[in-house]
């Protein structure tokens, strides 16, 4: 219930901030009886109302006997704290890998970035480093490049291979 109260408090703060930003919007000569800020303000007011409702509901539940009702159900469903933080840590690690992929695309080019992504994720998911993991990673890079760049004609970043685009002949990966 403390988590719900904190969530409600955060959402209340966000609703207030959202309202203030909406209120600060400039008017437009194209505005009619309803300005562009009207709908966002309505959302902010509703958000504030439901956030307060969530806080009040949490407070009322916390004042009742502990470990009863929905509180008991939530506590039974909730994982142990250590396990939960481990799960968060794993998720954060995956986010960082994807962030690295996003940075790598522009540097090493699409195909190589995909290969590095597959390789890194496989290691992260505890697949042992082997010829298979390296081979599958390289094959993945090639297959994704063939599918998106050659078959679908999507212009993917070529990164450091970009200068090759200016050569007098055309390379398949430039």
């Amino acid at each position: 219930m403390l988590v719900n109260m904190l969530s409600g408090a955060v959402l209340l703060a966000l609703s207030i901030g959202y309202y203030l930003v909406a209120d600060a919007m400039p008017s437009s000569i194209l505005d009619t009886t309803v300005t562009s800020a009207a709908f966002p303000k309505l959302i902010a007011i509703a958000g504030g109302f439901f956030s307060l409702l969530l806080i009040v509901q949490s407070l009322l539940t916390m004042r009742a006997l502990p470990a009863i009702g929905d509180e008991a159900e939530e506590m039974e469903d909730r994982q142990p704290a250590a396990e939960l933080w481990c799960q968060h840590g794993r998720a954060l690690g995956l986010i960082l890998i994807i962030a690295g992929f996003v940075l790598a695309i522009e540097i090493v080019g699409y195909g190589i970035a995909v290969a590095l992504l597959v390789f890194t994720v496989s290691l992260y998911q505890r697949y042992p480093l082997s010829v298979t993991s390296v081979g599958v990673s390289i094959l993945s890079g090639v297959l994704f490049w063939l599918f998106f760049v050659v078959m679908l004609g999507v212009h993917m970043p070529s990164g450091m291979w970009n200068p090759l685009a200016h050569l007098p002949f055309t390379l398949p990966f430039a």
Binding site: M25, T33, A38, L54, L65, G69, A91, I95, S140
Partner: protein, 510 residues
């Protein structure tokens, strides 16, 4: 041209058959992979449908939904892991049949029940869409706004968890939909000086982030799933078996019809309800949970019927009944098709073309169910590490291909983080997705209504349909809070009673 002619023309004169087959095949593969639900499988296709003909794109997406409902039963039967949430009940008897060496029979029952349920569902969709669309004449701008609010409140209250959290989730979705340049006045809203946000936040990015990315963040700490037996053949039920399965199949279909039409229902709820009812009415209820064929037929018929009947509220009212139909709704908006009561009137070519394509999709499932089984088993047996990596690469590449903008991948990951946080805090995601998809429509009709009323907000009460829908919204909100409070009180009373009974005798003696 009448509806049948349009449907036949679409099937025989356009690539609809190809897209129906492709969608079902992709749906079976996606549904068979644990961790990829029907909605994620559909969301993965969304970026690739850019540039496609709208009817073909929606046939592809809807066929994917059809295929995924069957695909989810493959790992449910073979490795006791449902591929989709609707296949949870199939595990109960399907896996038992697998342990008894009757995997092929179980898969055959799942396939046939699904095809029958899907076809009956499609017949109903075709029958009901016309009459429901005639009420389009009565819908004004205030009524459309009220319909959007009603739909959002319905989903918010019927989604799992607290109704208050459901409403907050919907409001977050509406807030995201306001980002970008206002189409009516040209004012920049919530862009904070960012050029990338001028065009707003594409619902596809949020859909993929919320469904696919957040699921991957959870899956990274889950253990790998079991391996399936490499060789397997589907065995279709005999006539004698069909006689036994008919009541269960009809029960599943009947429940699927009502559940699919109900916003917030979905295939998962239908499969649970149909399993219970099939057991109640079965001549052999003792066999349920021990390898009963009816225990597979009922839920599989139900979830495939839902895949068809869920189109009714989605197309005619713009209110989806589940995550998968929310993705379908996103696809409709993406391709410039505004769902609602007037859709059949405004765009009959699309509606009847879609129906034609979906009939083909349901029939193609019969063929593809056999053809796709070996590749699905092969995929399920691949190391989870590689499957996760491929999904990340596929999702990122698909998202990048929309605008060739790295910022889109950043938005997708950010919304994936938001989805992960919301799921940890037990906020339902479906209201957020629906609100995001419908946000622009709701706001446009709100502003149009107030303009029509010259700034007087009472126009929403003077319009009869609007007043009724807004009234129903308030009723649903109050009822959901009342039921929630009553449920808590009952649980408190039960917990207090059990703690009194459990008091030690010694305490009374001291």
């Amino acid at each position: 041209m009448d509806g049948l002619q349009i449907a036949l023309h679409t099937v025989f004169a356009t690539p609809a058959v190809f897209y129906a087959f492709a969608g079902v095949a992709w749906g079976i593969v996606g549904g068979a992979l644990p961790g990829l639900s029907g909605s994620i499988t559909m969301a993965l296709l969304l970026p690739l449908t850019y540039g496609m003909d709208p009817t073909m794109a929606i046939i592809l997406l809807a066929s994917t939904y059809v295929g995924a409902e069957y695909g989810g039963s493959i790992p449910a039967i073979l490795i006791r892991t449902p591929g989709t949430s609707a296949a949870v009940t199939t595990v109960l008897d399907g896996y038992e049949m697998h342990r008894q060496g009757r995997s092929g029979e179980a898969l055959g029952i799942s396939l046939m029940a699904g095809v029958v349920g899907g076809l009956i569902g499609m017949i109903l969709v075709v029958s009901l869409t016309g009459p429901l669309s005639r009420i389009a004449l009565y819908f004004t701008a205030p009524a459309y706004f009220a319909l959007g609010v009603f739909g959002l409140s319905l989903i918010a209250t019927l989604s799992e968890g607290s109704p208050i959290k459901g409403f907050l989730s919907a409001l977050i979705g509406l807030a995201i939909s306001t980002v970008g340049i206002d189409s009516l006045s040209g004012v920049q809203r919530f862009t904070f000086g960012s050029v990338e946000l001028l065009g707003g936040i594409d619902p596809i990015l949020v859909l993929i982030g919320m469904f696919a990315m957040s699921e991957l963040f959870f899956q990274t700490s889950e253990p790998p799933w079991e391996k399936a037996q490499a060789s397997m053949r589907i065995k279709l039920p005999s006539l004698a078996m069909w006689k036994r399965l008919t009541p269960a199949t009809l029960i599943g279909t009947f429940i699927g019809i009502f559940d699919g039409c109900t916003p917030g229902g979905g295939a998962t709820l239908a499969s649970f309800l149909s399993y219970n009812e099939a057991k109640r009415w079965s001549k052999h209820p003792e066999e349920f949970g021990k390898g009963s064929p009816e225990g597979i037929a009922a839920p599989e018929a139900a979830n495939n019927t839902v895949a068809a009947t869920a189109l009714i509220p989605t197309l005619t009212f713009g209110i989806p009944s589940s995550g998968s139909t929310a993705v379908l709704l996103g696809g409709l908006i993406l391709h410039g098709i505004e769902p609602g009561p007037a859709l059949l009137v405004k765009d009959p070519l699309f509606v009847y073309g879609l129906f034609g394509g979906l009939f083909v999709a349901n029939l193609s499932q019969l063929v593809l169910g056999f053809v796709m089984l070996p590749p699905c088993i092969w995929l399920v047996n691949r190391p989870k590490a590689f499957l996760m990596a491929f999904i990340i690469a596929l999702v990122s590449s698909g998202v990048y291909s929309i605008n060739q903008d790295i910022f889109d991948i950043v938005i997708m990951v950010a919304t994936g983080v938001l989805g992960y946080v919301l799921r940890i805090l037990r906020f339902p995601i479906l209201p957020l997705i629906l609100a995001l998809v419908l946000g622009n429509i709701v706001e446009r009709n709100f502003r149009r209504s107030v303009d029509l009323g010259y700034g007087d907000y009472s126009i929403f009460l003077h319009d009869p349909l609007s007043a009724i829908l807004l009234g129903l919204t308030v009723v649903f909100l109050v009822l959901s809070i009342v039921f929630s409070l009553r449920r808590r009180q009952r649980k408190r009373a039960a917990a207090a009673a059990s703690s009194t009974i459990g008091e030690p005798i010694n305490s009374s003696q001291t």
